[in-house]
């Protein structure tokens, strides 16, 4: 057998061992030797049976037989053969330590080898289990081919199997390898690459835990959004921003919390340091915290209460909420009322705006008519007299009216000031009720929220109609502070002066005690509220000799001032009409002298007014039945109109220099245009229906062709002037004149009228003027001479 050769050559136990492995292959490899057709090399020597059985002895020696020993080499220097020293000619191509350990050394090996080895019995069991498992999984194979299954276990061969193998006639069956059990167990673990399971990190088991929070409170909100809503929101935000900065409430609260936190931190720090804190301090702190907490709780409760209140308020069915809502809508109600009135007085409104009396064109005499429009009446003012009317100069539809009493024999104590608007004749815009009768009123020419009032008891008041920021609820009223400064008799007239250098408003008043007082806002009031401080400008001493009293003292008589009129251009010049019938021309710069005294009327001067255009002309009227037109340089009147009945008021028209209107005691309204008719009024109409009712005041509206007449029943009547009564100057092209040309035209018209009646001598030599001038010159000269 060919394998036998090498085996024989190997010799000894080694050969047997190898042969065994071979037989295993043959027996359990699934094929038998008989089936094998071994190919033999052709040149193989053919041996007989005996030759084959003959043992060929071979020896394994440690010496290489091919190595030449005692090699010599010819040395030419020595001229002799020299032995070449022996050289080891072994070349290690591969080196591997054997895993085999001798049986005897097995115990020692176990000691050195760190890994446990499976004992043989256990291994057997394992193998059995394996086999069984394998058999179960596969259909049970026939008994003969059961061998390969055993063979599948590879080196792990059991002894039983070996016995089977022994049953088979084989050459190496007697072999009993002791080392075999070692080899089959030596599934050595790699010390370097092997990683034990226990060295791996622990895998934590996965767990799931779920919980649910309480859902946040929900509320439904519905609204829509626009570009302009966003814009408004931003605008509001910008408006509110500075106000938020002022509020320190939130900041203070934060500060308190911060302090407490700081305290806690401070309390904790010494504890950590180990420094002992006295128990008292701790107690104190605890108490403090307690109180702070309580306070906060209280605050919280209060806030909560307020919230509840708010919520209650937001319930709109609540009556308080309704009232609050209506209070807020007060402004809207005013507008509503105006528009309702506009519907109610629709026709009157049309008359006011568009109606022109067409018949005027056909009146050859140039006469006109006046058409009554709205009537203004307030229930509580019915029994009061209209004592003064003052139109606002900047608002065309607003005017203030003072109510009081002219009947001094049966005085009515209370009075009031009402501010009316043409838009609402039914109810006044503002009401100011005074405990005393109001005698006169004046609206500031520029700031029309300021109204000056003079009262029957000699006091003055200034009303600020516009509610200011601090005092949003009511109009502010300033009164004169000091009792000494007030007039000692009823005030008959108040007039605004020009604002002083600081821009503060100031006004003048005149009363029956003959004094002119200048009023300014006085902030030195003890209450700090502010009031009015008065300065006496002058006392109207009459140009008569002092009267000697019963005890020999002499009195200078003074005139009882009734009317005050400031020059529209020269702000320091003013006229005062007295109850004695005199007219004083004074200056506010000096009070001891008067520029001129006119002996105008026999009875009290009722009205006095400067012309709007011509700077030297003024008008006066009196209960002595006359209206007089004056040139200020002339002590004699230019024009005198005798009506035949007492004239209670008169005034110039703001649109023309030659038109003026007057009311008579009989209740007639007269309108004159000197340019049209110098003798007769161009309009004379009865405007009060009842005979007893007297119209006391008349005023032109500065913008519209409207007259306002107030009577002693507290009623006001507005009258529209027909086109003939308000002829406006026209230029060459027929367009109405405006601005300077109109002013010049109006002045020219008046000058022409004056020149018609003026006595040329009176201009060159005014008698009344000359005398005081000479006196003055003498006084001045004497004073200079003395110095």
């Amino acid at each position: 057998m060919p394998p036998k050769g090498p085996k024989g050559a190997g010799g000894g136990g080694g050969g047997k061992r190898r042969g065994k492995g071979r037989r295993d292959d043959d027996e359990y490899g699934g094929y038998t030797r008989k089936e094998q057709q071994l190919s033999k090399p052709p040149d193989q020597e053919k041996l007989t049976e005996t030759q084959l059985k003959q043992d060929v002895q071979r020896y394994l020696v440690t010496l290489d037989p091919t190595v030449i020993r005692d090699r010599v080499r010819w040395d030419f220097n020595e001229r002799a053969y020299l032995i070449v020293p022996y050289q080891d000619e072994t070349i290690t191509l591969f080196h591997m330590d054997s895993k085999l350990v001798h049986k005897d050394h097995a115990e020692e090996f176990k000691k050195t080898y760190p890994y446990p080895m499976v004992p043989r019995k256990q291994a057997k069991q394992l193998d059995k289990q394996m086999q069984e498992a394998f058999k179960k999984s596969e259909p049970p194979p026939p008994p003969a081919p059961a061998a390969p299954t055993a063979e599948a276990s590879g080196e792990a061969e059991t002894e039983g199997e070996e016995k089977k193998a022994d049953a088979k006639p084989e050459e190496e069956e007697e072999e009993k390898e002791e080392t075999k059990e070692v080899t089959r167990q030596t599934k050595f673990l790699n010390q370097f690459d092997y990683s034990d399971r226990s060295t791996q990190t622990y895998n934590n088991p996965l767990r799931e835990h779920a919980c649910q929070t309480q859902p946040p409170p929900r509320s439904n909100y519905k609204d829509y959004c626009n570009a302009w809503i966003i814009y408004d929101a931003y605008e509001n935000d910008v408006e509110n921003r500075p106000k938020q900065g002022k509020q320190h409430g939130g900041g203070a609260e934060l500060g308190a919390i911060g302090e407490e936190l700081g305290e806690q931190v401070a309390g904790a720090a010494p504890g950590e340091d180990g420094a002992p804190q006295t128990p008292e301090k701790e107690k104190e702190k605890k108490e403090k915290k307690e109180t702070v907490r309580k306070e906060r709780d209280k605050e919280g409760k209060i806030v909560e209460k307020e919230r509840v209140k708010m919520r209650k308020a937001s319930v709109l069915e609540g009556q308080a909420a309704q009232e609050a809502a209506l209070n807020k809508s007060a402004e809207g109600l005013k507008i509503l009322e105006r528009l309702v009135m506009q519907n109610v007085h629709h026709e009157v409104l049309f008359d006011f705006k568009y109606y022109e009396d067409a018949s005027d064109e056909f009146r050859e005499t140039g006469e006109g008519t006046i058409l009554p429009l709205w009537k203004f009446a307030y229930d509580r003012a019915k029994r009061l007299h209209v004592t003064g009317i003052s139109w606002s100069q900047s608002e065309p539809d607003m005017f203030a009216v003072s109510y009081g009493s002219f009947s001094f024999t049966h005085p009515i104590t209370d009075g009031m000031v009402l501010v009316w608007s043409l838009r609402n004749p039914a109810f006044p815009e503002q009401i100011w009720v005074s405990p005393r009768g109001c005698m006169c009123v004046a609206v500031h020419p520029e700031a029309n929220c300021l109204v000056a009032v003079g009262m029957y008891d000699g006091n003055v008041a200034m009303i600020q109609l516009k509610p200011d920021e601090d005092n949003a609820t009511s109009s502010v009223v300033l009164k004169n502070v000091h009792v000494i400064q007030k007039h000692r008799s009823p005030i008959w007239s108040v007039k605004w002066g020009e604002d002083d250098m600081d821009g503060d408003p100031n006004f003048y008043s005149c009363g029956l005690d003959g004094r002119i007082i200048h009023w300014t806002i006085d902030t030195s009031d003890s209450n700090g509220v502010g009031g009015l401080g008065g300065t006496e400008i002058c006392i109207l001493h009459l140009p008569v000799a002092p009267v000697t009293g019963p005890d020999g003292t002499s009195y200078k008589l003074f005139g009882c001032a009734r009317v005050l009129a400031f020059h529209p251009k020269e702000k320091t010049t003013f006229l005062v009409g007295t109850a004695e019938g005199n007219i004083f021309r004074c200056s506010s710069l000096y009070g001891s002298r008067f520029q001129q005294i006119y002996n105008a009327h026999f009875l009290p001067v009722a009205a006095l007014e400067w012309n709007y255009y011509h700077k030297d002309v003024f008008i006066s009227c009196s209960e002595d039945w006359t209206i007089k037109i004056w040139d200020k340089k002339d002590p004699e009147p230019m024009y005198v109109f005798e009506i035949g009945v007492a004239i209670l008021d008169c005034c110039w028209a703001p649109y023309s220099s030659t038109v003026f209107a007057a009311v008579t005691e009989e209740g007639k309204t007269l309108v004159y245009d000197l340019n049209v008719n110098k003798e007769k009024p161009i309009c004379c109409q009865q405007i009060v229906t009842k005979k007893k009712v007297k119209p006391h005041r008349i005023q032109f509206n500065p913008y519209y062709p409207i007259l306002c007449v107030g009577d002693d029943r507290g009623q006001l009547t507005t009258l529209k002037l027909s086109p003939n009564l308000r002829i406006l100057p026209k230029d060459s092209r027929g367009a109405p004149m405006e601005g300077d040309p109109k002013v010049n035209f109006e002045i020219g018209k008046m000058t022409k009228l004056l020149s018609l009646v003026r006595d040329p001598e009176s201009i060159t030599n005014p008698k009344s003027l000359a005398r005081p001038d000479e006196k003055q010159v003498k006084i001045v000269l004497s004073a200079m001479g003395k110095k």
Binding site: A325, L333, L339, V344
Partner: protein, 100 residues
Amino acid sequence: MLQSNEVEEAIKRILSHKGVVGLVVINHEGIPIKSTMENALSVQYAAQVTQLLDKSRSMIKELDSNNDLTFIRLRTKKHEVLVCPEKDYAMIVIQNPTES
């Protein structure tokens, strides 16, 4: 600002004027909080006017953001409806102008 009783007076005064049929005060949600008319009618007016107010204010504001609606007058065959929108409230007056 007027006091509450003066507001009441003002409302009475408005109602006393010629041709005024009724007055309704509504809040910004369109709920009538004060009315002098029948309940059903005032609710109807309130609902319709609220829509009208929103629409017209929207129109004015879209044209010019700085502008705002201040008043609406609706002239109809039978009445005139006057609406005055305030910040939180709106007032409606129904007037019969032909009577006056």
